[in-house]
């Protein structure tokens, strides 16, 4: 079977993708960890002793991990386990929404650039170039000071600096797809270009779109953690791991629990997501397998 361009339309293909993915041990571990985290995030109110902003334990400030407070208590009397667990919600929310918004910027631009070539392609590629040349973190910092911090702004800004990979992937795919017989046939019977593009070509470019999406998520989470670490990310008291690490850094000599737990959770999340992304890429697109 020619598996050069797998679309995940049929159940067959999903099964085959899974079979391929299944062989990837790291990807499987990542999937397990992320499922556990999603589970914990959904049932956060049930498994945590307090809300993320409740200063319930003012008489136990900076307490070390114990049986009643698994991850200890922070400097303003909040249960740290609650904050870390609610942090999963924030991180995953930022990651996935950013990726989706980036998708809505990157896919149309990439598709148009790939299909129409010429000046459209030139313009889009220059835009991609400009955004890729300047380090995304610096652009994000500039944008944050311009638009202000806060969850919504951060998501929007992160999407603005992370759509380029998806755009490139889609462009490349459309460039090859449009030379296919069915595309030429559609053109020959007089189907309008936009209809060919959005009805015939894009559905077949699902594989690179999903790969781009999945790889975008850990990147967005990492950038959010970096911005929050610098103190210009999500506003307190919303629990963000980057911010918690940054605040805990002052006390790292003594109150080690304030930095260690969010750091471990952040590392696990980002790493698991990128293992899943790598595994999925290998499973869905054998063409890309050698090229990582």
């Amino acid at each position: 079977m020619n598996v050069k361009t797998l679309s995940i339309g049929g159940a067959d293909n999903i099964l085959q993708t899974w079979r391929c993915f299944h062989k990837n041990k790291l990807g499987l571990i990542g999937l397990g960890v992320i499922f556990m985290f999603i589970f914990a995030a959904i049932f956060a109110p049930l498994i945590t002793p307090a809300g993320y902003a409740e200063q319930k334990y003012l008489h136990e400030i900076n307490n070390f991990p114990s049986r009643s407070h698994w991850f200890g208590v922070d400097a303003v009397g909040r249960d740290y386990f609650s904050r870390v667990i609610y942090g999963i919600r924030v991180s995953l929310f930022v990651g996935f929404t950013t990726a989706f918004i980036a998708l809505f910027i990157g896919v149309p631009l990439g598709a148009l650039a790939g299909y129409f070539e010429g000046s459209v392609d030139w313009g889009v590629m220059r835009l991609v170039e400009i955004f890729s040349v300047i380090p995304p973190l610096l652009v994000a910092i500039l944008f944050v000071t311009l638009f202000g911090s806060g969850l919504q702004n951060i998501i929007f800004i992160l999407a603005l600096v992370s759509w380029m990979d998806i755009c490139r992937l889609v462009r490349g795919e459309i460039l090859t797809l449009k030379e296919r017989e069915y595309s030429i046939a559609a053109k020959a019977i007089g189907v309008k270009p936009y209809r060919i593009l959005f009805r015939h070509l894009l559905p077949n470019a699902v594989a690179p779109i999903i790969i781009g999406l999945v790889l975008c998520v850990p990147n967005a989470i990492m950038l959010e953690a970096m911005l929050s670490f610098l103190g210009i990310g999500v506003n307190p008291p919303t629990p963000s791991w980057g911010q918690m690490i940054s605040n805990g850094l002052y006390y790292i000599h003594f109150y080690w629990h304030l930095t260690l737990f969010p750091a471990i959770f952040l590392a696990l999340t980002v790493l698991s997501l990128s293992f899943i992304g790598d595994g999925l890429r290998d499973a869905m697109d054998p063409k890309l397998r050698e090229r990582r």
Partner: protein, 310 residues
């Protein structure tokens, strides 16, 4: 070749001007100024005088043209944050620290990254390959400050081998140097692996092997040389990356380098410093990409960019 390079430099200049205009206008459209009430309580008359002294009362395009004109003559003015010294001295003083630690970081990252990439490519899907790929994934996806914190926990708080931060003596240099090199080594390993894998499948590698050449010679002389081109594209910008990458490493280890100024200059509306840093990064990146393009044509005669008229 010459016309190609001239064309390339010209388009480089155009995008440089566009990017600087964008950054300059963005910088100034951020609400608030460097001498606002909460930063410096001044009487209106005194504030006006200061604004006039720094030329901030002029229209934006005049400020931009004036800045760029001065920058062309390498006069960058003075930072509002440290008015006691020339900008060039400030950058020299801090960049020396960043470049020292960052350079040593790259000094271990480049050989390790290349080597682990080559080894993974020679034995794909082996245990060593999985280990190298997993480690590379770790350094690429986990923010460097998280790894730095883990190092602090293990080596400073656990074994008490190195101090947690500061900048004085070789003992304080070790962890920052490791941290600086993490991301570059991972990304190099990943690119080297993919680039080598592609080339090891080429027919001329089979030819070289069937001629009876020893394996190491095939790899060093036939495969790696050709794999080097895509690797160079990501390796050269790393030297610029030292400057921006230092933001986190220097914050964690409390190093008096350039990194912190990227953030504080934007925060304190320190326009001259911010603009100079951005200019510095953009110019060095542009130069790097120019060098890469020229390198391409030298290393690989198949790439004749100037014929495509790009």
């Amino acid at each position: 070749m010459a016309t190609y390079i001239i064309k390339r430099i010209f388009s480089c200049l155009v995008s440089l001007i566009i990017v600087t205009i964008i950054i300059f206008s963005m910088m100034h459209s951020i609400p608030g100024g460097p001498f606002d009430e909460e930063k410096m309580p001044l009487s209106p008359a005194a504030k006006e005088k200061i604004l006039k002294m720094y030329g901030l009362d002029k229209p934006l395009y005049v400020q931009y043209l004036k800045y760029m004109w001065n920058a062309l003559h390498l006069r960058f003015g003075k930072s509002y944050q440290s008015p006691g010294e020339e900008m060039v001295d400030l950058i020299k003083r801090t960049l020396r620290v960043s470049a020292f630690l960052g350079g040593l970081g790259l000094a271990w990252a480049i050989p390790i990254g290349l080597l682990s990439g080559i080894i993974s490519a020679i034995k794909p899907n082996s245990f060593v390959d999985y280990l190298c790929t997993a480690l590379a994934s770790y350094t690429i996806s986990v923010p460097v400050y998280v790894s730095s914190i883990f190092m602090v926990f293990i080596f400073s708080l656990g074994f008490n081998w190195f101090p947690t931060g500061g900048f004085g003596g070789p003992k304080t240099w070790v962890m920052p140097i490791i941290a600086y090199g993490l991301f570059p080594s991972g990304i190099l390993a990943r690119y080297t692996r993919s680039s080598m894998l592609e080339i090891l499948n080429e027919p001329y590698i089979l030819t070289a092997k069937s001629k009876g050449l020893p394996m190491w010679r095939v790899i060093t002389h036939h495969a790696f040389r050709n794999a080097l081109i895509p690797i160079l594209t990501i390796m050269l910008p790393m030297f610029t990356g030292i400057m921006t990458g230092s933001i986190f490493v220097e914050k964690i280890f409390r190093i008096p380098g350039l990194g912190g100024y990227f953030v504080t200059s934007i925060y304190k509306r320190d326009y001259p410093l911010e603009m100079t840093l951005m200019l510095f990064i953009i110019v060095s990146l542009a130069l790097t990409y120019l060098v890469i393009d020229i390198f391409y044509t030298i290393i690989d005669p198949r790439v004749r960019l100037w014929r495509k008229g790009r």
